[in-house]
């Protein structure tokens, strides 16, 4: 019962990956990455019932930071720019959806061949993590808007977070909270930078393609 619920949540993760790849609306991509973080937070509790107290702390922190604080920061950064949509990505939306589908398939095939501990075999967690990491890379490399790149980084981070769920004993809560805080500060700083990009580069929305002053 419980494990089928976990699997269902992991399917949601896969679905959100494809959603981030296929949509051009920046607001939706931010929300999708946040939703992914919230799902990951719930998974922490579901998978770590033997350390429930600690899992609750980490899950609470994850949901608060990834589900509320970071999207708020990004939405505010988005308000300071004029764009609402990703325009002319280096790889089109349908093409990147296709890439995402291929990445998901590759992740599932690859995870089957990985030497996993018996309790993790056949679990969707590892392929979900890998597919999410790959999705993050696709978004990071194919999008031009500063905000979308940050969303790509968040998706990548969500993927790493899912991998961390395999290892609740190795990571003490101090470290897990530290990782979350670092992430929060990183997004905070990036949001400030986005604000300045909008001001200094007279574009219709923070567009990293305009970064070409620093070339050899």
């Amino acid at each position: 019962m419980k494990s089928s619920f976990v699997e269902a949540l992991l399917v949601v993760i896969f679905f959100l990956n494809l959603f981030v790849l296929g949509t051009s609306r920046l607001r939706s991509t931010i929300t999708a990455s946040a939703a992914q973080g919230v799902v990951a937070g719930f998974l922490t509790v579901l998978l770590h019932t033997n350390h429930l107290g600690r899992a609750l702390v980490v899950a609470g922190g994850t949901i608060a930071i990834k589900g509320a604080l970071i999207p708020t920061l990004l939405h505010r950064a988005l308000l300071s720019t004029k764009t609402r949509r990703e325009v002319e990505p280096y790889v089109g939306f349908s093409a990147s959806l296709l890439l995402g589908a291929v990445a998901t398939g590759a992740a599932i095939l690859f995870a089957e061949r990985l030497p996993l501990a018996i309790e993790h075999q056949g679990m969707l967690l590892v392929p979900a993590s890998m597919a999410t990491i790959l999705t993050g890379f696709i978004v990071l490399t194919t999008r031009r808007k500063a905000i979308t790149q940050v969303v790509g980084y968040l998706v990548l981070e969500n993927g790493v977070f899912l991998m961390a769920l395999l290892l609740h004993d190795a990571l003490p809560s101090l470290v897990e909270v530290g990782v979350l805080l670092d992430l929060l500060v990183a997004i905070f700083v990036l949001a400030i930078v986005i604000h300045h990009v909008q001001r200094d580069f007279s574009s219709d929305g923070a567009d990293v393609a305009e970064f070409h002053r620093l070339r050899e």
């Binding site: 003490p172 990036l190 930078v193 620093l214």
Partner: protein, 508 residues
């Protein structure tokens, strides 16, 4: 005592951040907190080194039993082992030298608020120390990321379009690198879990259990960590943020990053080399270090050719020297000693060189050779330092870099890597010629007029001149490099040997 050099800068950072800027007096004295923090740090570190404090197993007061490490309160994970005993003083000295320069620099730039700059510098000091002292690989990751984030406002100090672009690249590329490093750290923990050992990220436990770790996961972890921390260290081909970041940030920030932070990241990388060595996977780790190192030396040297921007040139020189460090450790044997000595030499020389470059930048308001020449007339002391620093960075006697580069080459020959040694020699020569042509253009020739580019000149049109505070720290650092080239004191020699044994032998 181990927590003092972390907590004191953090407290000073809070003071710097909370002191109001509206009161002229406090705003004027705020930058002095940075040298104060640097001085306390240096004092405490010296005391700890002299008293031999903080050896692993002693800090918890439980005679090395691993139970002492398990406290969820992180101080139990702090230790000074033979490796950190080498890196921490270097970091402290570089920071102290730079901190003496900071108040003068901020006085020249009174148009900018010094609050964030001062606070970020102190945060950088605290987190850098945590990287070096911690024996928990997860906490080390957190500290490294925090350290990198603390430097973001430093890079962005000029708040113009160019520094914005540099900061963006630095943050985003660094974030991706650090995410891969986290994944690698998780793989490392999983390699224990898969082998049926209780998974842990405490360095001492990992080293003890290393021979039993699952090989595929360990290999995957090492590759990911090499890429991840290699990005932060600026190894090619993940170095692309480096010329932008070093080129656009104030000279003193370049000095801290190239002289101090790279050493901390290198230490982080060495931890995993150590684990591989303890797991009897030395050959595997060496292969990766040699390939990555040689490639970085090559890229660094190649991009220095006809590099018209002397700060970017220094960044590529940093790529080259990071490659040299990694290559030295990868070659093994006596080259490890050379690499460790080179870590010290390069840290000191790079910091001095960036400060001299910063002075020249300040005097001319430009940093490209088509607009800067005749620095010997304009800022004679800084230009002389720049020239001397060039000789130090290219491994010319009597500077210590000659000894360390020679040792690395000797190690490569001794290990039978004649081809690598030959290529390395060629690349070092290329770097010498390439760097020399840029440096000489800056230093010699008729003095050009200064320009107002980027508003980089001193406030109020004050003409920048050499003063004791702007050249003193760099002179002291270069004298240090020179000293290391003439004699390696017996204590230092013993420390280098112990650290090298630790890297290759794996066990603490």
């Amino acid at each position: 005592m181990l927590w003092v050099p972390i907590v004191v800068p953090l407290l000073l950072m809070l003071v710097a951040a909370s002191v109001p800027s509206s009161v002229a007096a406090t705003a004027r004295f705020r930058p002095l907190l940075v040298p104060l923090g640097g001085l306390i740090h240096l004092g405490v570190v010296t005391l700890m080194i002299v008293r031999g404090e903080g050896a692993p197993g002693q800090s918890a007061g439980q005679g090395g039993s691993s139970a002492g490490w398990d406290s969820s309160w992180g101080w139990g994970w702090l230790a000074l082992d033979d490796l950190s005993r080498l890196v921490l003083p270097l970091f402290s000295v570089v920071f102290f030298a730079c901190s003496l320069y900071v108040p003068v620099y901020l006085r020249l730039r009174q148009e900018r608020s010094n609050r964030v700059f001062s606070a970020a510098l102190l945060g950088f000091l605290a987190m850098g120390t945590l990287i070096v002292e911690t024996h928990h690989l997860g906490l080390m990751w957190v500290a490294l990321e925090a350290c990198a984030l603390a430097t973001a406002p430093l890079l962005f100090f000029n708040e113009n379009a160019r520094s914005l672009e540099a900061t963006w690249k630095y943050l985003l590329l660094g974030a991706v690198g650090i995410a891969l490093a986290l994944l690698g750290t998780l793989f490392l923990a999983y390699s224990a879990l898969y082998a049926g050992i209780e998974s842990t990220l405490v360095l001492d436990d990992v080293l003890r259990e290393a021979p039993r770790l699952s090989r595929p996961w360990l290999h995957g972890a090492f590759i990911l960590l090499f890429i991840g921390y290699g990005t932060k260290m600026g190894l090619a081909p993940m170095h692309t943020w480096k010329p932008d970041a070093y080129g656009e940030s104030p000279g003193v920030v370049g000095a801290l990053l190239a002289g101090g932070m790279t050493a901390c990241v290198f230490l982080a990388l060495l931890r995993f080399f150590q684990i591989c060595a303890a797991a009897n996977e030395l050959a595997f780790a060496r292969q990766i270090f040699v390939a990555g190192g040689l490639f970085s030396v090559g890229v660094g040297a190649a991009f220095m050719v006809r590099q018209g921007d002397y700060k970017r040139m220094l960044a590529y020189s940093s790529v080259e020297h990071m490659g040299l460090l990694v290559l030295g450790v990868g070659v093994g044997g006596v080259a490890v000693l050379g690499a460790l000595l080179h870590l010290l030499n390069n840290g000191l020389a790079k910091a001095a060189m960036f400060m001299a470059a910063g002075n020249i930048h300040r005097a001319y308001g430009a940093k490209t050779v088509d607009r800067v020449s005749g620095a010997l007339d304009r800022v004679p002391v800084s230009a002389t330092l720049f020239l001397a620093g060039f000789f130090a960075l290219t491994g010319t006697p009597p500077f210590g870099t000659f000894v360390s580069e020679f040792t690395i080459l000797r190690g490569a020959m001794a290990a039978g890597h004649v081809g690598i040694a030959a290529v390395l020699m060629g690349l070092l020569l290329l770097a010498f010629v390439a760097m020399g042509s840029t440096v000489l253009k800056v230093v010699h020739g008729p003095a050009t007029a200064s320009t107002e580019e980027d508003g980089a000149r001193g406030g109020g049109g004050v003409r920048f001149r050499d003063s004791l505070a702007t050249v003193g720290p760099a002179i002291a650092l270069l004298l240090g490099v020179c000293f290391l080239g003439l004699v390696v004191p017996t204590q230092l020699n013993a420390a280098l040997l112990a650290a090298a044994r630790m890297i290759e032998g794996g066990r603490p």
